[in-house]
């Protein structure tokens, strides 16, 4: 994977079109078939990939357009998790899901998504997976003695899947753990579960930690100070954090980040429909360069673009790429 300096990428999701939302609802109402929905998803994912390519991103995701939300896509695939399919009104809501016994080992079927992504772009790719802490916080645990034990078992069940994903060509895997910010006291065991999840996975691993993006809104507020030093125990190569909406005040916390760790910085606020200018993006990058060298800096939106209109999401990504180019030029002198 040869990348330019300050590589640009998404956090995972791309704009969810209104028509796709409605078609998903049609599927739940049994008015269109699974086969039709799969075709619709394939088409939507190809369009999302194309938009990212046109915008000029260096690392492409599948836009996560097959997913209802960051929990259910995995909860439905985790063996042993029971789902009440009547428990949600909008596709984006969470199912009422629970675990009543020990999770059995079985594949989750994510490899096909990776293969589809790889088949539809020549660029470097990234695949995102919700982490065990966030899943354990949302899936009701009625079996394990503690959340920690539940999360560890999720990690053990998902670990072979991540290895298979890497084998299928995912060069870059991002683990999403936004719930760390809501439950900072869980960080020690959350990191242990994360390490169990990625153990032996042959890919570059990032962990994305934001302050939530449910319905395009934050779920918590606070400071990233809670991450340190606990997050340094994570066996990952990159931290991907939210700075655009919250301002760059917390950047200084990462001045002493060990050289083995890269920092992915959010330079696009995904909780507003206002499109940033390339100049603003460049300014945010320059601020980050004051605390971390360019060789260890990745450029991203704060979080997924799921809740942005397609034009807005595309405009923001274009601005992000253009702002990054401006800084790259400056770095070249």
């Amino acid at each position: 994977m040869t990348l330019p300096i300050l590589p640009t990428t998404v956090v995972g999701s791309y704009s969810m079109p209104g028509w796709l939302e409605r078609l998903k609802t049609e599927f739940y109402a049994r008015r269109i078939s699974r086969r039709d929905l799969d075709e619709i998803h394939d088409t939507a994912v190809k369009a999302a990939i194309k938009d990212q390519e046109i915008a000029g991103l260096d690392i492409i995701s599948d836009g996560e357009l097959r997913r209802d939300n960051m929990i259910d896509y995995f909860a439905e695939r985790l063996p042993g998790v029971q789902i009440d399919h009547a428990s949600k009104k909008f596709h984006y809501d969470f199912y009422d899901s629970k675990v009543l016994g020990k999770l059995p080992m079985a594949p989750l079927g994510l490899v096909e998504d990776v293969k589809f992504l790889r088949a539809n772009t020549d660029r470097a790719t990234k695949f995102c997976v919700t982490g065990p802490h966030s899943l354990a916080k949302r899936i009701r645990n009625e079996y394990y003695p503690s959340e920690q034990e539940f999360a560890m078992d999720i990690a053990h069940v998902m670990n072979p899947e991540l290895k298979a994903i890497a084998k299928a060509g995912a060069q870059f895997i991002q683990i999403d753990e936004p719930n760390y910010s809501g439950f900072p006291e869980d960080l020690p065991w959350g990191v242990k579960a994360l390490n169990a999840l990625v153990e032996g996975v042959d890919a570059k691993i990032a962990v994305h930690i934001c302050y939530g993006n449910r319905y395009g809104k934050p779920s918590w507020e606070g400071s990233y100070a809670y991450l340190l030093p606990g997050i340094l125990d994570a066996n990952v190569q990159q931290l991907t954090l939210e700075f655009a909406r919250r301002g760059g005040e917390d950047l200084k916390l990462f001045r002493e980040l060990p050289p083995r760790l890269e920092l992915g910085i959010g330079v696009i606020d995904v909780k507003t429909q206002a499109v940033e200018t390339p100049h603003l993006v460049a300014e945010r990058i320059r601020k980050a360069l004051e605390v971390i060298p360019a060789e260890r800096l990745f450029i991203l939106p704060d979080c997924g673009c799921l809740h942005l209109g397609r034009d807005v999401a595309f405009g923001k990504l274009c601005a992000m790429v253009e702002g990054t180019r401006m800084v790259r030029k400056e770095l070249k002198g």
Binding site: K217, P218, W220, E221
Partner: protein
């Protein structure tokens, strides 16, 4: 013909009903009403709730959805309180035969063309009222709260305020225990009126904070927001003991985010009382499976125009122009402020709204309220009575959607107002618009609010205001959903 009878007054409308039926049959037999018109007519009796409103004794709404067919009234509304013996036949005949063409000036003086109620000149009067409230009150000799049912606002009920403060304290205590309480604790009250509720809230909060020794009070930033600077000034004395932590901000309740964008996701509690019911609105109606927008045209009835003309010594034909200048420049436009106020009050009192129904399919550019898509509206209506007329509450929906982004992720929004929380309620009576002194009052469509709120990621609940027996208000309580 479908006859819809309600029983909203103390006395039933049985005798009027008989008279209405007899009159319509006789018009049919005399050939003044066609069989087809008769068959598709829906007549509502006894549907007026507000004593002061925009309706005549009998009014009809014509559908204009079928261009090749003669326009014929689809709905007829009869206010049994206004019916005088012997006048009903004439009134019904007048409404059944009057078309869209402007009536002769001796019958009515038109103030505008047909349009959505939201765009109607009526809201210009409403705006003027709030901007020139002091002038209005001086002229009438009574404060606006006296115009409220019961003569005072439920917003200021001390137990309700204390409960709200208690909930708020619990919230910030919880955040504090998780080390997630921001240094500055923002609270926003929109539509502060005389500031009474804000004053009560702050008094109570300080007392509770002192009792529990939590030291949150000095960290409080209390924002008083109102549409009118004059109103904000009047609220100042009510919070005089807390001025150090109060800010007074002119803002439009339709879009608080515009002025307060710097507080996005930061405000822990937002409260509004009797604001939504006074925001621009429009109505829709579903008849025979079709959805219609209700368009209105404001006018002054001929006899009232004549009276105003004589009283203020101006030609009746000049009333529309004078009204527009009044709304632009206030009562001083008429040189003598008292003369301007008299004109304002007389026109407002006399003003009525004609109605017509326009099929939504014929209005490709129809703007549904922010956040409400036609598919969603149709989905909601699946659970509603087949023929129903309802408020879109577009102003309330707009306000809601432009307010909730200010909420801290754990914050809550409380709105105390008059809500319709089930479409069936629309069959039980008239829910506005009415005239409340110089302003407009309209019930708020809580069903649509709940739908739009849920889709935007908020849980929206309604609870009756149980603090005063007989209160018609409810409390909307909103938090971010997980």
């Amino acid at each position: 013909m479908i006859l819809q009878l309600n029983h909203l007054q103390r006395k039933s409308a049985a005798s009027t009903t008989q008279e209405v039926v007899d009159t319509l049959y006789s018009l049919l037999e005399e050939g003044q009403l066609e069989q087809e018109q008769f068959a598709r007519l829906r007549v509502h009796l006894d549907w007026i709730q507000y004593r002061h409103n925009f309706r005549e004794c009998v009014m009809a709404a014509t559908a204009i959805s079928e261009p090749h067919k003669q326009h014929s009234p689809l709905e007829m509304h009869i206010d049994t309180r206004q019916v005088t013996p012997g006048a009903l036949r004439g009134e019904i005949l007048r409404t059944m035969t009057s078309g869209e063409t402007p009536a002769p000036a001796q019958e009515r003086v038109l103030l505008e063309d047909f349009q959505s109620f939201r765009e109607s000149i009526a809201w210009g009067f409403n705006r003027l009222y709030w901007h020139r409230l002091a002038d209005w009150e001086n002229f009438t000799g009574r404060g606006y709260e006296q115009a409220l049912p019961g003569g005072k606002s439920d917003a200021n009920h001390p137990v309700a305020v204390a409960d709200c403060v208690g909930d708020f304290w619990t919230l910030i205590r919880d955040l504090d225990s998780r080390k997630q309480l921001p240094e500055e604790i923002f609270v926003l009250e929109i539509g502060v009126g005389m500031g009474t509720r804000s004053g009560l809230w702050l008094d109570r909060f300080r007392k509770l904070d002192e009792e529990r020794g939590t030291k949150y009070y000095p960290r409080l930033k209390f924002l008083l927001g109102d549409y009118s600077l004059a109103t904000l000034e009047r609220s100042r004395p009510a919070v005089k003991n807390h001025l150090d932590l109060c800010s007074f901000i002119v803002l439009d309740a339709l879009n608080p985010l515009k002025n307060l964008a710097f507080l996005r996701h930061k405000i822990l509690h937002i409260h509004l009382t009797n604001v939504y019911d006074n925001l621009p609105d429009e109505e829709f109606t579903r008849r025979d499976g079709k959805l219609y927008a209700v368009q209105v045209r404001a006018y002054v009835p001929g006899p009232d125009a004549q009276r105003i003309s004589e009283q203020l010594q101006m030609p009746a034909a000049n009333i529309p122009r004078t009204v527009h200048r009044l709304l632009e420049g206030g009562p001083d436009y008429l040189n003598d402020r008292n003369r301007g106020l008299a004109f304002w009050q007389e026109v407002w009192k006399a003003m009525r709204l004609e109605e017509r129904l326009v099929n939504l399919e014929d209005l490709p550019d129809v703007a549904l309220p922010t956040g409400l898509h036609q598919e969603k509206l149709e989905e909601v209506l699946q659970g509603a009575p087949s023929d129903v007329r309802f408020h879109a509450s577009s102003g309330a929906l707009e306000s809601f959607q432009n307010t909730v982004p200010l909420l801290h992720p754990r914050g809550f929004l409380q709105v105390q107002d008059i809500f319709v929380t089930n479409f069936n309620e629309y069959r039980l009576g008239f829910h506005g618009p009415g005239k409340l002194d110089g302003s407009i009052v309209n019930w708020v469509n809580g069903v649509l609010l709940r739908e739009v709120g849920e889709r935007a990621g908020y849980d929206v609940h309604f609870a009756p205001f149980h603090y005063r027996k007989g209160s018609r208000t409810s409390i909307l309580y909103t938090t971010q959903r997980e």
